[in-house]
Symmetry: C2
Subunit: 205 residues, 2 copies
């Protein structure tokens, strides 16, 4: 009865905080949420599908989209671009679906600039000690790299102020439940829906 | 680990919308929530307890509190004052408990002026038709009075703009779940908790 646009939710936080785990657990439960599909210039790998795994573009096409401000955020890794296409996000929101974007802090800050109406959720480590354990237990990094990552994480936590919500990732299930309550309550915000409700009232009289 | 003040939640909406039903169902589930105890000048009835059912005051004492802006809202019915004492609310919040206030629209607007940091939830009727049915089925009112109440309700719905959230009361269980998600997500708002989280970070390093 109430027609409403979707909302863009951005889940972000320091490296090692468990963004991917929370996102996967959330998507296992919430099938209405659409995952934001990234755009890339890297080669399509066997089994991958355009518009499912990524939107695949040439370097020239990607750079043209950058010029046109058609990316909510982008970065270059190992000579390839990766980014979030504005068009896919906006079309999905217009169709009434929420879009969910899981992303590093630097990317989230870019999205904030280009799409301030998004809802920004900061995933917080239960403690720095715990964060350190998680980074160490990935096992792929040298002690120096671990220390650097931890310093980086600390800097990223200072950037919390750009976010709307803070969720501690002490237990995945609890963190997912909190993210779900944020999604639900954002849809109940008066400034999003008052117009439609008042219209409803007009229509009935 | 994070010490936090409680939040004042105000549930309000037009007469007949089912505020009391939603509040009761909520309190059956959520035992941490403290109900805001009103202050009154009416006589204490047998079985009632001061500080439990109401805070009982003389007319003079009540009027002195009005003068001192010690009531978040008040009204006079049948020669007696009823109101929400600021002191009880603030002490309960300071102790870390959320306070829940269920109140008519006029009262909520007074609270909004005196306590703008409260979270204001508007309970919306599923339809005006449904609202009319509920008012009629109370059975205590004449057709003229029903029409007046309906006009009043319509006016009150126009006041939605003073609220933070709108919850449709189509099913009590759904409405309760939505109110719970609002309560949970308000505690996750960055502006409420960023300071404590940053302190946590300082303490650890």
């Amino acid at each position: 009865m109430i027609e409403e646009k979707g909302i863009l939710f951005i889940l972000s936080g320091p490296s090692g905080v468990g963004k991917g785990t929370v996102r996967k657990a959330l998507f296992n439960q919430d099938t209405d949420l659409k995952y934001s599909i990234s755009m890339t210039t890297r080669e399509k790998r066997p089994g991958e599908k355009d518009g499912v795994d990524y939107f695949y573009k040439t370097k020239e096409a990607f750079e043209a989209l950058i010029e046109q401000n058609q990316l909510l955020e982008y970065a270059k890794y190992v000579n390839n671009y990766y980014g979030t296409p504005r068009k896919y996000v906006e079309e999905t929101l217009d169709a009434g679906y929420d879009v969910f974007l899981e992303i590093e802090v630097q990317g989230a800050l870019q999205v904030k600039e280009n799409f301030p109406e998004g809802v920004f959720i900061f995933l917080f480590p239960p403690s720095l000690e715990e964060l350190k354990n998680r980074i160490v237990h990935r096992g792929t990094e040298s002690p120096d790299l671990v220390l650097n990552r931890l310093k980086e994480a600390r800097k990223e936590i200072e950037m919390m102020d750009a976010y709307d919500y803070v969720v501690v990732n002490d237990h995945v299930d609890l963190a997912v439940e909190k993210v779900q309550s944020i999604i639900q309550s954002e849809h109940l915000k008066r400034e999003r829906i008052a117009k439609q409700y008042k219209q409803l009232l007009e229509d009935e009289l």
